[in-house]
Amino acid sequence: MNHKELITKLAERTGLSKPEVEKLLEATVISIKEQLVQGKAIGIQSFGAFEVRKKEERLSVHPATQIRTLIPPKLAVNFKQSSILKEKLNG
């Protein structure tokens, strides 16, 4: 389901108009983004949590050329599903 479809479905579900839903969705996304950029984690009840994790730098070897590359450290977004969600998925 892509973005557009999601908006359509949400509009249906909530009864709000599409532009409104669009705005709301945008605001949600931006809020999540802002918090993540600040390094804070976000938890959605019964759904899951978004958090920022630091990945240390590492040495990786290209299997064919055997060139060693030093990959720099980075911050990445990580999502962890809630156990409730997991159970639902594996009912």
């Binding site: 389901m1 973005h3 999601l6 479905k9 949400l10 579900r13 909530t14 709000l16 839903v21 705005k23 709301l24 969705l25 945008e26 605001a27 949600t28 996304v29 931006i30 809020s31 999540i32 983004k33 802002e34 918090q35 993540l36 950029v37 390094g39 804070k40 984690a41 976000i42 938890g43 959605i44 009840q45 759904f47 899951g48 949590a49 978004f50 958090e51 920022v52 994790r53 630091k54 990945k55 240390e56 040495l59 055997q66 060139i67 060693r68 590359t69 030093l70 720099p72 450290p73 980075k74 911050l75 990445a76 977004v77 990580n78 999502f79 969600l85 997991k86 639902k88 998925l89 594996n90």
Partner: protein
């Protein structure tokens, strides 16, 4: 491995507040929306459908295969059943925004080489190297003096005295430390006197040291000793040792890296002599590789340059002209005849001996044949059976010219000159003589042309009017002199 960046966790409620404040909508609306949103995503995922949210990312359901695992307490193996998992891949925008603090970093290729901090040390002259070493020596001396206090110097001394040849054994033992101390003492005479070492003693200690360590350590050792010896009063030892640094120095300067590395290693770890060989080996290899690459590159460059020169030499018409011009001097005509005979042998000789018109190019072709057959092309086959040593171009010059084909006509006006006409048609003023020749019935004297005369521009044999051929120009000038009578 991964670390969570913050302990701060924003709850669902807080999210509601954030969204509400952003859009200035009521909290209830925001709450409803958020609930619906994630419910919707859940639904889709339960159906197995991925959900893509713009600027955020994609939620997908992923199936994990059952796998074996061990109960850490009981040690029993058990199976983790297969399960579905919600995975989220962030959008590139989100990724970049989150990675801002580290955004400037790029992956670095190492090429399998060790980072070489040693190389960064500047390659200095002899005196400086020694100075460096002595500085280092004095620094480390402090450390060693501490160790010195602990170790038994007394026992080391007699051992060394009695069995100078077996210092080898000593070196690998901790007792060697006092030896180093003696060696490294350069400026600190206090320590020297405190230990009551005689210069001879030092000499004895150091000399076996020269012999004993493995050969690749030698240059370094010698330098160390040299440092010491300089300030030392052991005259008897100084001279032979001094000779060696002279030899050692070029070795050092060639491979300062190796020396420095070894120096460092040796200074820091007196006990680890056998290990030293590993790092210089690797560095030597690397250096060799670098040196090897350099030589290969150099050879390639030279080959390219050589090829370029070769090409230029043989393809340049200027050069060809030059070659022709020279070769047709008396001295080289014999050589030419030789060449012609050889070439005659190579090709079929059923062509009639071409004279005058076709022959003029054969010697040209012969000379350039090895280099540039393509250019001369058909002229080569044409001029096969030439044996005449006399230059064919010369013959063409000498032959009587008759013009039957004309390129056009020009009317001579007041200021019209044959030279300008020639320039236009043939590309060189000098070739006006051929125009004159073609119009002799019409023109009495080249200087006196009646205005209104119509001159016919002949089609001249291109080989005669090759403006790039200095011989052609010379011939034209000859004719000029002839006709204008300025001889």
């Amino acid at each position: 491995m991964d670390k969570a960046m913050s302990k701060d966790k924003i709850s669902s409620q807080e999210m509601v507040d954030l969204v509400a404040s952003k859009l200035s909508v009521s909290k209830r609306v925001a709450e409803e929306f958020l609930k619906s949103l994630f419910a919707e995503i859940e639904e889709a995922l339960l159906k197995g459908e991925p959900v893509k949210v713009k600027n955020l990312g994609t939620f997908k359901m992923q199936w994990n295969e059952p796998r074996k695992s061990v109960n850490v307490q009981t040690g029993e193996v058990f199976v983790i059943e297969g399960y579905n998992k919600v995975t989220f891949t962030p959008d590139s925008e989100l990724k970049e925004a989150v990675n801002e603090p580290y955004s400037h970093l790029e992956p670095v290729e190492l090429d399998g080489e060790m980072p070489d901090f040693e190389i960064e040390k500047p390659v200095t002259g002899v005196g400086d190297t020694l100075k460096n070493l002595s500085e280092q020596a004095s620094e480390i001396k402090d450390i060693l003096s501490e160790i010195n206090a602990l170790s038994t110097k007394k026992t080391a001394k007699p051992v060394v005295k009695e069995e100078p040849n077996e210092v080898e054994a000593e070196i690998t033992t901790p007792i060697e430390i006092p030896d180093y101390d003696l060696i490294l003492l350069d400026e600190d005479t206090e320590e020297q006197t405190a230990e009551e070492e005689s210069p001879v003693e030092v000499a004895k200690v150091t000399e076996p040291e020269v012999v004993v360590p493995p050969s690749d350590d030698k240059p370094e050792e010698l330098i160390v000793e040299n440092t010491v010896q300089k300030e030392d009063e052991a005259d008897e030892v100084i001279e032979p040792v001094f000779d060696e640094p002279v030899i050692a120095q070029p070795v050092v300067e060639q491979a300062p890296v190796i020396t420095d590395t070894k120096k460092e290693n040796e200074m820091e770890n007196t006990e680890e002599i056998p290990e030293k060989s590993s790092s210089p080996f690797i560095l030597g290899k690397k250096k060799k590789r670098k040196g090897l690459r350099f030589t290969i590159g150099l050879i390639v460059v030279l080959a390219i340059v050589g090829g370029a020169i070769y090409a230029v030499y043989f393809s340049s018409s200027c050069f060809r002209c030059w070659v022709e011009y020279d070769l047709f001097s008396e001295t080289n005509r014999q050589k030419i005849s030789e060449y012609t005979n050889t070439f005659k042998g190579w090709f079929s000789s059923d062509k009639k001996p071409a004279n005058s018109n076709t022959s003029e190019n054969d010697t040209v072709a012969k000379i350039t044949l090895p280099a540039d057959v393509a250019n001369t092309g058909d002229t080569v086959t044409e001029t096969v059976a030439q044996t005449a040593p006399k230059d064919s171009l010369q013959m063409l010059f000498d032959s009587h010219r008759e013009y039957h084909e004309f390129l056009g006509e020009e009317e001579i006006g007041e200021g019209t000159r044959l030279t300008t006409i020639a320039q236009r048609y043939y590309g060189k003023k000098d070739f006006w003589v051929y125009i004159y020749e073609a119009n002799r019935d019409n023109i009495v004297h080249p200087d006196r042309i009646t205005p209104g005369t119509i001159v016919k521009i002949p089609k001249v044999d291109p080989r005669l009017i090759d403006k790039k051929n200095p011989r052609c120009i010379a011939k034209a000038k000859e004719l000029h002199d002839l006709y204008v009578g300025k001889k």
